[in-house]
């Protein structure tokens, strides 16, 4: 008998960044069953981590109750990374790669990646550029069609201080000579980024370099709509039908792009009574996830 596990693990990415991860697996009668069962690699959202409220915190327990294992990783985008310079969007796919390698070394064979919010955009970037033989499909929750456009629209909506265009201008000056390779960087605050006040709840914090590679007009790899056509594995979008952060048309447009690119194994399901976090309606969300995993995983049926 393989007993239930809830293990904290640490391992390095290719460049040495230390990833902390939480493995949650269920009870299985044989070791083979454990490794044949699906496992979902979970990637958190903005300022997130594997204990952050909502999906990161709730989904692993809900999964394990239903026979699905999970592996939640804290990427370099976790915690305060975007405020102190470590959260470079383009480099975060090294963390996904390291997570997948770790799971394969452990013996897991049927891996899904679930990215929530920012994690969804990272997941698309990874899968558009990598074909991992053990990845059976990806789940994108609350996925923005483009992080730069999403940021620009939000900052304009709330009349942020400074404005999106002003940040862009300043970033070009601070990040000389080349934003990608420069050693020059600086923290900045955007007031009224998430709401109409100057209160801390409505601010956003970045360094110019983390912003440049995640939110600026030149953050090419964060423009999910421009790269998602490269994703060839099955894709499930789940989206809260009351999500006011990412509009419903965004995942709809991404589905269309995937279909046009020849990927027909794409499903979009709106989760009723949920906002940006689909686990606001856990029963419905779990049912959708299990149905879809069963559909894509022929070797192992979850009842």
């Amino acid at each position: 008998m393989i007993s239930r596990q809830r293990r904290l693990l640490s391992f390095p990415a290719e460049d040495g960044f230390l990833i902390n991860a939480l493995l949650v697996s269920g009870e299985f009668s044989r070791e083979k069953d454990l490794y044949d069962a699906p496992i979902v690699l979970l990637v958190h959202g903005v300022l997130g981590h594997f204990l952050a409220r909502g999906t990161p915190r709730l989904l692993p327990n809900a999964f394990v109750e239903n026979g699905i294992n999970s592996f939640s990783i804290n990427t370099r985008m976790a915690f305060t990374g975007q405020m102190f310079g470590g959260a470079i969007f383009d480099e975060s796919i090294m963390d996904i790669e390291a997570g997948l390698d770790y799971l394969v070394k452990e013996g897991f064979r049927n891996i899904y990646i679930l990215g929530w919010s920012l994690g969804a955009n990272i997941t698309v970037y990874y899968c558009a550029n990598n074909t991992h033989p053990n990845v059976r499909g990806i789940i994108l929750e609350g996925c923005s069609s483009s992080l730069p456009i999403s940021n620009k629209n939000r900052l304009e909506k709330w009349n942020s201080v400074p404005s999106y265009d002003h940040i862009y201008e300043t970033a070009q000056k601070v990040l000389k000579p080349d934003p990608v390779t420069t050693q020059n960087d600086r923290v900045f605050i955007v007031y009224r980024a998430w709401g109409p006040t100057f209160d801390p709840d409505d601010v956003e914090l970045f360094t110019y370099r983390t912003w440049w590679l995640m939110r600026s007009p030149e953050a090419y790899n964060a423009k999910t709509n421009e790269i998602i056509s490269g994703v060839k594995v099955p894709v499930l979008f789940i989206h809260g039908d009351e999500d006011y952060i990412v509009g419903a048309q965004e995942p709809e447009s991404l589905v269309e792009i995937l279909n046009k690119a020849g990927n027909d194994d794409v499903q979009l399901t709106f989760i009723p009574h949920a906002r940006h976090d689909c686990m606001e309606n856990p029963e419905f969300t779990i049912d959708v996830l299990i149905d879809w995993i069963n559909k894509t995983n022929k070797q192992f049926h979850i009842s």
Binding site: N20, H49, M83, F84, G85, R186, V187, I189, D201, T207
Partner: protein, 297 residues
Amino acid sequence: MEQELVSIPFGKSKIDGLYYNSTIHSEDKIKNDTAIIHVHGFLGNFLDGSQRFLPPILAEGGYSSLAINTRMANFGLFFGYGILNDTIPQIDRVVEYLIELGYKNIILSGYSLGTSIVLRYAALRSDPKNFPNLRGVITLAAPYSMPDSIRRRWNRLGSEPSYDEVFEEAKEIIKPSREGKGHDRTILIYKARGDSYRPEHTEIYTYRTWWYLAGPEADTAMGYKQIKEIKVPILLIQGWYDEIVKPEETHDLAQVALDAGNKDVSAFYVNAGHKFENKEEELGDIIVRWLDRRFKT
């Protein structure tokens, strides 16, 4: 050692922690009934620094640990809810949790900013009749006074804005409701931790979190005012090459505690910087020996 992620119910929320249960028992198979609570430093959490490396070393010595995230963990200081005094009920709950697990002797250990939390807690809970389980305090890199330490550092580095400028602005921004929510705002201090504008030399607060941690009226964060109230054994450990907290601050804190009548105050210096890098084992050995002399079953 067994390791377990725990979420301790606390009102409507939870306190997250990483529990390290030592499986090293005494020769007569009795489990050690002393446990250590570890409190993180500035922007820290239980996955980082001494919170992460000390518990396994202590577990080898027979001591279980619970490393916790308080309200001041991660970005609590940036978004307004990281107020030092608000961590007290959280620690009360963690102490209660460990007592429920069967531990009788609770030792509080804090690192850097966490030393302000544990000294404040132990000062408020110094009455042994009401708080008999709190049996000792360990500080790692403790500033004599967090506000003074920050003011000196900012003035030395020429921070932008200056300490006095932040104080003046804070007075305007958060009054008249210093105790209430007020109109708080997030602020950046460049050149606060080094002489450049780079992110690693920048500090981030809200006026309110700054007020209660670094402001000139932040008595709760002045270690010397708290330590003199503490009657349980105190162990202070300090890196000799620490550039954030000066070594003499530990000496001065120990002196205040001794002058106040505490008969069990120890201070150790380690050949290390603020993070005790490469001296993890040595740090652990000092703590285990100190614990053994007082609490070994």
